[in-house]
Symmetry: C2
Subunit: 139 residues, 2 copies
């Protein structure tokens, strides 16, 4: 059990339950983003499919994880950084999807450059989704 897992739950006023601890731990350990199905298969029959849906939703609401827009429109989630807070969630970094192995990375060190929007448009969030081949698949 990782220390930070329980800490994170407490910080967000969530009660400490098995499913929350274990699902959050999966995110902490995972390098990439996770889909509902990933969590389901990694956890076997340990918790109900519905519990996974609800846990993910709770985490998103609390700003612990965020959804990632993906080119194939599958739903994936990744850990938020500190800048994310409940309700408002700031996540202007780059996501990378490997076409080859399917892994989704959050490239925290690459930041999204400013773009100038047309007159009248205001932005609250920007998400840059890059597809291509990742480090591992480029050999």
């Amino acid at each position: 059990m990782l220390y930070s897992t329980i800490e994170t739950l407490k910080k967000n006023q969530l009660s400490i339950t098995d499913s929350r601890k274990k699902i959050l731990e999966m995110f902490v350990r995972s390098k990439g983003a996770l889909a509902h199905a990933d969590i389901e298969s990694q956890s076997g029959t340990e918790f109900d499919r519905v519990t996974i849906y609800r846990t993910l939703q709770t985490f998103v609401e609390k700003g612990i994880i965020h959804t990632i827009p993906t080119a194939d429109n599958s739903v994936r989630y990744a850990l938020c950084k500190d800048a994310c807070t409940e309700g408002h969630h700031r996540d202007d970094h780059v996501h990378f999807m490997c076409d080859h192995c399917g892994t989704t990375y959050c490239l925290d060190h690459v930041h999204v450059p400013k773009v100038s929007l047309p007159e009248g448009f205001t932005s609250t969030q920007m998400d840059l989704v890059v597809s291509g081949k990742c480090m591992k698949c480029n050999h």
Copy 2:
């Protein structure tokens, strides 16, 4: 019937059918992106839900439309520009989703700036998804 609609279908070696003509026309007329449900409601009972699925898939395969990665993971489609060709599809422009009215825009005149990826990552496609308030909703 718009001239370009039939032209586009011919150019892509697709037979000219009612559903293809009308669905493509919806895209041409629409300022924003369309979801399956939008097409279904705009067309009433004119064609089957399954036909819409298959038509959208065909259009995507031919590079006539493309899916838009969205933060809420609803599947939306928009017309591709000329640079899109069958199989490979190049679409490095900016998509804007209005948090308020839900409209998705393709901002063709804004282009995605280059970002430097970490060592070993190569990109084939970039998609910048901006959320916020659109022109109409900013009043």
